[in-house]
Amino acid sequence: MSFPTVAQLARDIREGKVTASAVLEEHLKRVDERESEIHAFNLVTAENARAAAVEVDRAVQAGKPLGPLAGVPIALKDNMCTRGIETTCSSKILEGWKPPYDATVVTKLREAGAVIVGKTNLDEFAMGSSTENSAFGPTRNPLDTSRVPGGSSGGSAAAVAAGFAAASLGSDTGGSIRQPAALCGLVGVKPTYGVVSRYGLVAFASSLDQIGPFTHTVEDAALVMESIAGHDPMDSTSLLQPAPSLLSVLDQGVQGMRIGRVVDMPEGSEPDVLERLDAAFAALKERGAAIVDVKLPSLQFGLTAYYLVAPAEASSNLARYDGVRYGMRVDAPDLNAMYAATRSQGFGAEVKRRIMLGTYALSAGYYDAYYGKALKVRRLIADDFAKAYQSCDVVLTPTSPSVAFPFGDKTADPLAMYLCDVFTIPTNLAGHAAMSVPFGTGAHSLPVGVQVLAPALGEATMFRVAAELERAR
């Protein structure tokens, strides 16, 4: 099934061919038809969306200047703060919380004219690769409802794949945008660390988290990126530079570009996925790019580095959920007992597991052996990439080792679930940019994503390659 793109909707609304209200109602109709089956949303904000759409329609009628996303229905992962609108991170511990401020990306989307349709489901606190860890129940993959949509931004991916929204935002700490994009047949972008403000994104692992878009096309991803990126004084890790210009590079092609193929790639990918990756290399070569072999020997240690660094940071970030200032409280006779009772009942199993792992990795006596070592491995990975990018412009890998898997397939073994992220994790550790582009189908006729990796601030180059892959598909 194909749905109208962001670019098409924005153009039609601007030219008066269709009203923003009519566009919104079409999307809400699809929500009515399929949401009970898919469960993409924790909350549909239909009334607010209708009011926003009316405002866009008035602006069109009055001939006022319109933002680049005017009237486009967009969904937000439910870990982005929306003032006065419940934000839960799919956790019982935050149920009912109404943030007193908007995340910067929310403000920027509104300024661009976007119509926000709701808050999407996720693995609790973005910890997971299948959206099965949500305290409010899993999201189903709209392409095959017996399978997961990926995670942790599974609701954001499903909302776009099911036509509930034309685009959505997710957050990517170790692959949480790119992997669900691959599993749902979408484009998903993890920008360079610091390119998109994290102000108002509920923190999971602060040195890894980044917000990015899910869309049907590379052009749409560029449109959304240009609207949400740029410096924000409210985020101290936000880079001091304007949003990258991406729409302008999409037609430049790959003639003369050098595409890196990793010769020592971590094993474990399914043959159908590797077949599509080979096809992607062949397509780019045919279109004038050179394929260059690169070595990334530390890549295989990325999983270990990530699953020590991310839980360590999470254990610290999630210390704030103590039943005092927001969310749930379980009453107990003294403060310490209240903390423990609240956290024990408020957090789900995976969140507890990661808090425990992180607390252990940071605790006296184990810090050097685990967290300290992981930070050094992180450096090795960044150094490997720096060397590789001396001889190539981008690197291509699979996004996910397999197509979308059935529910329950990996829930019994946390490590099996963690292995879903083996190709996406290194980008977050290095702070680089990467995106997943759909490139045909694999087993069970399900979509396969190819991942384009670029160095820090390599977004323009990355989008050029992604656009060419899309044309070659």
Binding site: S315, A340, A382
Partner: protein, 119 residues
């Protein structure tokens, strides 16, 4: 059988050689749970011990790397701290913030007694 014995022997040997990585058991896990302010049920404690042991065993893949001269990388950007101008700007609305608190009184958060800890 012989193969199994050899495998067991080499596991024991390698765990003896990695003395810096103390083994994780339910005593350690219970202590970590206390540090993390989590009450684990006996079932959760047993499962957590098993799962964390499995993960930490897997994470030993980095033990073979020579990291002596590698500088740690706590975050990806070569950032230096800068101070903003000390200017008063509007802060969050107090009533709106306190409306989210499980318990509030006289424009403050209300918590259970903090003295007379059981711990």
């Amino acid at each position: 059988m012989a193969l199994e014995c050899t495998a067991k022997f080499s596991t024991t040997l390698s765990s003896l050689m990695r003395v810096e990585n103390a083994r994780i058991d339910d005593v350690v896990v219970a202590k970590v749970a206390r540090l993390a302010r989590l009450d684990l049920t006996p079932d959760e404690l047993a499962r957590m011990t098993e799962q964390l042991s499995g993960m930490l065993e897997h994470f030993r893949d980095i033990d073979k790397l020579d990291l002596a001269d590698v500088a740690p990388m706590p975050q990806p950007l070569p950032l230096k701290n800068v101070f903003r101008e000390d200017v008063v700007v509007p802060s969050l609305d107090r009533d709106e913030v306190l409306a989210n608190a499980p318990a509030a009184e006289d424009k403050r958060f209300r918590v259970p007694p903090t003295i007379g800890f059981t711990e």
